[in-house]
Assembly symmetry: C2
Homo-oligomer: 382 residues x 2
């Protein structure tokens, strides 16, 4: 061994203190704070990625994700990356070069879909509307007829605008056009009413760090039978290895289970606990809790003279965009909340930069005390 | 909100107990056990992915990775995925469709490189040798002259065979041919002598869960100036969004820092502590510790009549392949070690399936007590 052939330099040998992070109250666009039970579960002992005990955890995560999504899809897993990797996994697997993909763009994440679909060679068409509006069934039908896409991609819960896109009735429209329905549920899964099978979603993905009260780093994803058919009949290989549904399928469901990557087991322990909390609470109670807490926030904002950006009927409970009053420096307010109160809220993204704040009440943080501390601190700062 | 429009089904509403994982001693091919200080650091409070305190953690991780790799490369980051995502990030960024890529295939991970490079449109050529051998400088020179590639891809520490590929002198060869040197250091970074700059590596990547004593889920990667030049001069967009070095660069180094994805902050806290432990110990001591502990293992295996598969001069200290004696059921031995002693060792992969066991002594687990418990348990079981 040639330890002595070269000289080790200490140029970058930092001498650091122990980690010491501030106790933030995360009321922004995500991550949200994890539930204490989730953090405790994360420290269960490390086992191998093919250990029988870990394969069981994977199966439990699959099954509880099916509950959260209200789906019977066998192919329901978590990608070992963040929510954005879920979006990429969705497009990488179902899109072939030249496939026409119609994306509903009414916010930042719709734009990101356009970018990603393009990288996989899609013939991308956009249906656009205002940041703060949703698409009507008529607009979607007209778009489908004008573009005749193979994939319709929509964001159920636009984290950049706080808009809930209604999805009821689209399954029929997509089936008429032999088109897949691909939906971003990053900011809805576990907090906002969502029925993947009843709504006929063919592909949906999410993130662990929002309404599921777990740390960031896993991207739940589910593929229905129509999506799996399209993948099986691809003429070109899936142009991605790490998020490849065929290779991942052999790891998640193969017999014997085949090594693909070294799953981040501690994040899986955490997500299992986050999902277990959701199952204990039950979706009806959980969705109602998110709604009730959001209504407290909206009432309180009104008392402060602040106005939500999105009309009530399409307003997300998990993420509220709040209009910045004229003459107020949005960034300065966020900064004071962070530095004086340890409260994180998010600023506007894209078209809404500087125009709104974004307030998330997700999962463990969807509690009255989150609203109380934020409203009082906002009143102090404004 | 249409909570009542559909009926929530409880089909998949599992009622699970608390997580309860067995206390494995992970002496396989990785993951390895994390150091206790790393697990403690992982539970520091969650902050946002653009929180100033988190940006500082990212900077510290970059700097300590530079120390571990012995590189001055500014572009030194961790991808938010496992080691395999590091491999994909390397190829996705530097390979354009049609680029000739020469891969040294002497094990499973060389084969994986062939697969990944192909998915990004490379004209892949293979240089092959036995699983258990390394490539000689003459073989590499002949391969470079025969194929004249834009990228030479080698595995420094082949986790499937336990071979250490010598890399000294290749920088000059690659520069003569205007070729990038791309190296897998998953099972060497932090445990095996490695001088990225002195050896002229243009791209190197690793995983957090091996010699860095951290949980799985992050893939350190470093791009040198020649690799960044090739990326800047691409004629085609990088066909990957999540692992895109340009977009990631704006998050890691931009001014202001631009949102890309919601980094898994708890894994970053953990990796920071794993790297801090390496900096405290110092690379010279750390490499010597891995070597000394491996030598104990090799001596003990000899006493049991067991033989390492790889010649001493190219044998990795971090991962030893042990030949399965004639008449012994390799899988049965592994299973008994796991179920009776909570010890995980790995079986052979690919060409070596059933022919070897793989014993890892990495990071925190590179200690005399790991060797002692394994040797005694092996003696009992055989």
């Amino acid at each position: 061994m040639s330890i002595d052939t070269f000289t080790i330099t200490d140029n970058h040998r930092l001498n650091l203190p122990s980690i010491d992070m501030p106790p933030r109250i995360l009321l922004g666009a995500g991550p949200s704070n994890s539930a204490p039970r989730v953090l405790a579960a994360m420290l269960a002992p490390t086992v191998g990625h093919l250990d029988p005990t870990f394969l069981q955890v994977m199966g439990e995560v699959s099954e509880l994700l099916r509950y959260a999504w209200q789906t019977d899809n066998e192919y329901t897993i978590a990608i070992s990356g963040t929510g954005s990797s879920g979006m990429e996994a969705a497009f990488a697997n179902v899109v072939e070069p030249g496939d026409r993909v119609l994306v509903g763009v009414n916010g930042y994440f719709g734009r990101r879909m356009v970018d990603m679909a393009g990288r996989y060679g899609a013939d991308v068409r956009c249906l656009e509307t205002t940041w703060g509006a949703a698409f009507s069934p008529e607009e979607l039908r007209a778009g489908m007829e004008a573009h005749r896409p193979r994939v319709l991609a929509l964001v159920h819960a636009e984290t950049s605008t706080g808009v809930r896109q209604p999805l009821e009735g689209l399954a029929e429209l997509c089936r008429e056009h032999d088109c897949l329905l691909l939906v971003d549920t990053v900011t809805s899964l576990g907090g906002v009413p969502l029925y993947a099978d009843a709504w006929g979603l063919d592909v949906a993905y999410s993130g662990s760090q929002k309404c599921l009260s777990s740390p960031s780093g896993l991207a739940p994803i589910t593929f229905g039978p129509r999506a799996l058919d399209k993948i099986r009949n691809r003429k070109t290989p899936i142009a991605n290895w790490y998020m490849n549904s065929e290779l991942l399928g052999k790891y998640w469901f193969g017999s014997p289970r085949a090594y693909h990557h070294t799953a981040p087991m501690h994040l899986f322990y955490a997500l299992r606990e986050g999902l277990r909390l959701a199952a204990e609470e039950g979706l009806a109670a959980r969705w109602a809790r998110h709604q009730a807490v959001a209504e407290r926030l909206w009432a309180g904002l009104g008392e402060l003279g602040l106005e939500p950006h999105v009309p009530l009927e399409i307003r997300l409970p998990s993420l509220t965009t709040v209009r910045v009053p004229a003459g107020v420096d949005a960034a300065a307010v966020s900064r004071r909340l962070l530095t004086e109160y340890n409260i994180e809220i998010a600023g506007g993204l894209g078209d809404l930069a500087g125009k709104v704040w974004r307030v998330g009440l997700m999962g463990y943080n969807a509690r009255p005390e989150s609203v109380a501390v934020l409203l009082r601190a906002l009143a102090d700062v404004l």
